[in-house]
Symmetry: C2
Subunit: 186 residues, 2 copies
DNA sequence: GTCTATAGAGTGATAGAC
DNA sequence: GTCTATCACTCTATAGAC
């Protein structure tokens, strides 16, 4: 029996893509097996909790990525203006200029939202909080910073919906450009 | 056998709610049968094409509602300022202040997007076009009107995602209020 | 020998189609 | 209601690393 040693973390990217493309319900184990190249044995070895644990692991990885790459810089940077510009650039890259959807946003709209409520809520709460901090250090008052960060996160999610709905990544890029203008104005 | 005469159109609201709550894949025929009160026989009598035809009929009904209640007034009203205000009010009512998601937006994010591509694309295209017309009559130049309407539709979709993600309808109402301000400024 | 990664036949339940 | 396909999942077996 071939033994291609792998570990849990190795299959998370493929797992994420399957969930992105088919949703939680639509991602069958057959599909997951095909895309990860793993049999059910391996899958259940890595994720004894089945599909739910697989999705949870994917969400946790996304959360960790955003925390490290986006939220922490927003919170800690000495230069909030630069941190916000970096956020927009990282977001453009992460979502492949609108060709890739936000798995957490997609989960939020489905019946999956309640199953992963903590992760879904926590992700957006952290994003808004981190961006709000940067905006305050940029000179906004607390109320304005909260409103603006809520608006920004919503604008990104909405642009992802629209870009995919209309199958036009340019929609996402235009939205990011407008958002950049709005976030630069104090 | 009781014969409660009903027709296709009667079951569309219930059908819409099931798809909203469970998504296309998650809405099983058992669930649909329970919520509509119809057996599989009746369902296949009304919708010979099965689930796909059911979803298509729901999308068509939503499209018709928006065309009549939102898009047409935006295009035809003599008073674009009032038409835009009416749009925001109708949207708030339709989405129950953020407690109800946009089925078309949800479909756009899933694998269902390709299946119903024409409806999904057409819905958002019509919305943007209608709002853009109202904005031009309000005094915006074409480019600004197009950008602003794209921004507005995205803001609404994003607010729906966020409101549901964070389980807080107030997010949606705040977003609509900010959007109202932005659309009033020429 | 033990342990971990693997494969996949087999389980009952439930899916959508008709 | 009946059909067949497919679902998530279980379980046994096995290979190789120690």
């Amino acid at each position: 029996m071939a033994r291609v040693v792998s570990e849990r973390a190795d299959v998370l990217p493929a797992l994420g893509e399957v969930f992105r493309e088919h949703g939680f319900e639509g991602a069958s184990l057959a599909l997951i097996g095909a895309r990860t190249g793993l049999g059910k044995g391996s899958l259940y070895h890595f994720f004894p909790g089945g599909k739910e644990e697989m999705a949870e692991a994917v969400l946790a990885e996304i959360d960790a990525w955003f925390t490290h790459e986006i939220f922490a810089p927003l919170r800690e940077s000495k230069d909030p203006r630069q941190a916000i510009a970096a956020m927009l650039q990282a977001i453009d890259a992460y979502f492949r200029s609108g060709r890739r959807i936000c798995l957490i946003g997609a989960f939020a709209l489905g019946a999956t939202r309640d199953r992963f409520a903590a992760r879904v809520d926590g992700y957006f709460a952290a994003w808004e909080e981190a961006l709000g901090q940067a905006l305050m250090r940029l000179g906004h008052r607390k109320k304005a910073a909260v409103a603006l960060s809520e608006d920004a996160v919503a604008a990104i999610q909405g642009a992802l919906v629209l870009a995919r709905a209309r199958n036009d990544p340019a929609i996402f890029r235009r939205a990011l450009a407008r958002l950049g203008d709005r976030l630069r104005t104090v």
